[in-house]
Symmetry: C2
Subunit: 322 residues, 2 copies
């Protein structure tokens, strides 16, 4: 749920006049994306997405994100394609914020995850990794281990207010991950936020992946670790190994896992669980009064972290150790 | 900003199959309407609005609202037209809530109000009153004087926490309005919530009026009193008589005011200001934790009420006493 900036019709018409996309007929704020203001923009020619980048997205990172979407479009990956204006630029300003128009993707994100969704997701994640392999710009993942340490420090004072003992669990876990985190796995551009609301399906076929605003360079298998957390747990907190198996097997049909990636998956899954636990915990403790974004429960990821801590090996994710 | 209910793709496809509108391609929650969940629904044929009625809208009132929109559509008034399913019904259930699909209206609501907007609004309000004159169902305005008295009682304990002295201002005003409220003005179906975000313009032409979920039978001139409050004050709280004159003159080109309506406008404007002051005050004091709706400042309407209290006569709204 995110519409932070009100765009006037005059400002919008002047902005759209920079593109060859026809005349504005409608522009409605949509409940999509958490970090930015998103609008469904309809002209007399087609439907587009207009995004205004709010302060949590660094302006300096935008050329990486938009360039990545341009790159993926040339590889026929189903991501939004940035529109370039009459001056060639994809990024300009609207209402004092960086803003871009991207193509509209059909489909809906799945509310009830099935193993078939997970299989299609695995395939698409691997296709993304392959398609982005020759993208020339890089961006460090500032939400990897060193970034988590910063969040542990920033939330230390309030963690036990959210759940008794949470502070110690988190500080023990970051110490473990700092020592156990892999240093030499296959790397490249990852999406880093492959949650169900970023993956569209149309009539059971994966039709698009959106929201590349956490994309960065990191271990490819870390994307799968995020997916294990975001797609393979049931509402009651139980882990669904059938979904996990579909995810990793789908992935492997396009890009087989290296043996060290398989071995590392349990620690990567712990890291991914801690990453979302920490950002949600931080947002929970720093929720601005009057914000329109609903706070997400950090403890959901504590349950998932606890599961991953108990895992004996990659077989529990449906992966056979090589 | 309002999306309260998550609709799964399976539920949505089953729902849409009851209509002859093609196959779903996309469905996005939009930031439109405060009381209900609204989605922009795209099929392979056209764009529609899907509304799920949340608990603040009484199910028993829905036939009045949908029937009114049906009625207006036959009079070519630019309001959303309810779609009727293969069984003839416009209202059915989705995710445990009453739900309907209505036609999509082009246009955007104006963020910067001009006198020309107010003139077009006045014309459309009068056209609405004329078009709805022979609508056969009626609905009492439960947010008129007796409803305000209930809200005064419900907010009495907290009003002074919002602003010192507010409780007395409100209780004095309701006592005045109970004695001064007109009893015999031209009546009919009114919109009762003609705020800028419910009125769309496309290339400077009024293209649609939406959100009929406060519509009811009341004095026709009360709709104009609401518009005076919602359209004719500047951000700094000053009253813009040019906008007011455009509003009432636009209205009078379609439906001339009776002399008793002109005389009553100052008291109606006070009532409209108190009505929005009271509902905002109630919402402010009863804001649920974690709600996605941004609280609106009740004191904006205190400033407007104070203005109307100081008005000497209808000429200050740009109306010549008949």
């Amino acid at each position: 749920m995110a519409v932070y900036t009100e765009v006037s019709d005059e400002d919008l018409e002047a902005f759209v006049a920079e593109y060859d996309i026809g005349a504005v007929e409608s522009c409605k704020g949509i409940a999509e994306g958490v970090e930015n203001s998103n609008y469904l923009l309809q002209t007399d020619r087609a439907t587009y997405i207009l995004t205004l980048y709010e302060k949590r997205v660094a302006r300096d990172d935008l050329p990486f994100f938009l360039g990545l979407m341009d790159h993926l479009a040339t590889r026929d990956f189903p991501s939004p394609t940035p529109l370039h204006g009459n001056d060639g630029a994809a990024l300009r300003d609207l209402c004092g914020r960086p803003a871009a128009i991207v193509s509209f993707l059909s489909g809906m994100w799945p509310r009830r995850i099935t193993p078939a969704h997970c299989h299609a997701l695995g395939i698409a994640a691997a296709q993304l990794h392959v398609a982005a392999a020759d993208y020339s710009i890089t961006r460090r993942n500032n939400l990897s281990v060193s970034g988590w340490r910063e969040l542990v420090t920033a939330t230390a004072g309030g963690a036990d207010r959210v759940s008794a003992g949470l502070g110690k669990i988190v500080s023990d876990e970051i110490r473990y991950l700092e020592s156990a985190w892999p240093t030499d796995l296959p790397s490249g551009v990852i999406h880093a936020d492959l949650f169900p609301d970023n993956v569209f399906f149309l009539h059971d076929r994966l039709s698009g992946i959106i929201d590349f605003y956490f994309a960065c360079n990191d271990f490819l298998a870390y994307d799968i670790a995020v997916c294990l957390n975001a797609w393979c747990f049931e509402g009651d907190g139980s882990f669904n190994i059938t979904k996990a198996r579909n995810l990793v097997q789908g992935y492997a049909t396009v890009r087989p896992f290296a043996s060290e990636e398989i071995a590392a998956l349990p620690v990567l899954a712990r890291g991914a669980a801690l990453r979302f636990l920490l950002t949600r915990l931080y947002d929970w403790l720093n929720h601005p009064e009057g914000a329109l974004v609903k706070r997400k429960d950090p403890l959901e990821y504590l349950r998932q972290l606890t599961f991953h801590q108990s895992v004996a090996g990659p077989a529990e994710y449906g992966l056979d150790a090589a």
